[in-house]
C-alpha cells in the first residue's frame, strides 16, 4: 500500500441517508486494492451496521451530533473505525442472536454480523465519544 492511499476519513451529521454515502466512500477507497469483490461486499455490510449503530444508538438520531468514519490502510490490514458522540455500551451485555431463544428477535444482529465479516472487532471509549474498530486482515 505504500504507494497509495494511507487513510481516509469522513465526518457527517447523524442521518440515516449517510449510511449509503459512507458505503460509497468505502467502496471507492477500496477500489484500488486487491481485495475480492465478495469480501468488499461483506465488509461494506459491516460498515453499514456500525454506521447505523453510531447514528441510532450512539447519537440517538440527533442531527447535531456527528459520526466519523476512518479507514486506515496498512500493508497487512485495513482498520475501519466508526466514532459517535455517545457513551457506548457494555459489550458483555450483547446476546447471541443465533441462540434458539433469540431467533425471533427483530433486533440484535448488527454486531453479530460485523463479527462474522471482519477479523477483529474492538470497542473503544474515549472522552468525547465511543468507537468501534473493525480490522480486516489482508494476510487472510
Amino acid at each position: 500500500m505504500k504507494e497509495g492511499l494511507s487513510k481516509i476519513s469522513m465526518q457527517f451529521f447523524s442521518n440515516l441517508f449517510m449510511t449509503d454515502f459512507s458505503e460509497e466512500f468505502f467502496r471507492l477507497s477500496l477500489s484500488k486494492t486487491k481485495i475480492s469483490e465478495e469480501r468488499v461486499d461483506w465488509v461494506a455490510l459491516s460498515l453499514r451496521e456500525a454506521v447505523n449503530n453510531a447514528i441510532i444508538h450512539g447519537n440517538k438520531n440527533n442531527p447535531k451530533k456527528k459520526v466519523e468514519v476512518e479507514i486506515e490502510f496498512l500493508d497487512e490490514a485495513i482498520y475501519i473505525r466508526v466514532w459517535d458522540e455517545g457513551k457506548g455500551f457494555d459489550p458483555s451485555t450483547l446476546t447471541d442472536p443465533t441462540k434458539d431463544e433469540n431467533l425471533l428477535q427483530p433486533h440484535g444482529r448488527g454486531i453479530f454480523l460485523i463479527k462474522q465479516f471482519v477479523n477483529k472487532v474492538e470497542f473503544i471509549c474515549r472522552n468525547n465519544g465511543f468507537g468501534i474498530e473493525l480490522m480486516v486482515d489482508l494476510r487472510k
Binding site: 442472536p97 431467533l103 444482529r109
Partner: protein
C-alpha cells in the same frame, strides 16, 4: 425497497425489490403484509429474487413479518434467495426459522 403484491393459486406473493436496509423504507413490507393479513390471507410467499441488499434491520423485518403472520395463523415462506441473502440466513441461523424455496412456484406448491 419496492413491494409488489400478487395472488397466485390462492397464495399471496409479496415480491420485494431493491435494498432492504435501514432507512430505505423497511416499513413497506410490514404495511403490505398487515394489509394482506387483515384481508384474512393465510398463505404468504415473500419473493426475494430482486433484493440486491439486506442488512440486520432487513433481516429483522423478515422475522417480524414471520411472527406477525404466525400470530394470525398465517405462514410466511421465502423464495428465490440470492446467494448473499441465503448466506445471511445461514450465518444468523434464520434458515432454521424460515422455509425457503428456489422458486415462487415451489413455495406455492409446498402449501
Amino acid at each position: 425497497m419496492k413491494v409488489d403484491v400478487v395472488e397466485k393459486k390462492g397464495v399471496t406473493v409479496l415480491g420485494l425489490g431493491g435494498k432492504i436496509t435501514l432507512g430505505s423504507g423497511d416499513v413497506k413490507l410490514k404495511e403490505k403484509l398487515v394489509a394482506e393479513l387483515s384481508k384474512g390471507k393465510k398463505k404468504i410467499v415473500v419473493d426475494l429474487g430482486e433484493v440486491s441488499y439486506i442488512d440486520s434491520a432487513g433481516l429483522g423485518e423478515l422475522v417480524a413479518a414471520y411472527t406477525s403472520a404466525k400470530k394470525q395463523g398465517a405462514t410466511v415462506k421465502l423464495a428465490n434467495l440470492t446467494k448473499k441473502v441465503n448466506d445471511l440466513l445461514d450465518i444468523t441461523r434464520l434458515s432454521t426459522v424460515f422455509e425457503t424455496y428456489n422458486s415462487v412456484d415451489e413455495a406455492i406448491k409446498s402449501f
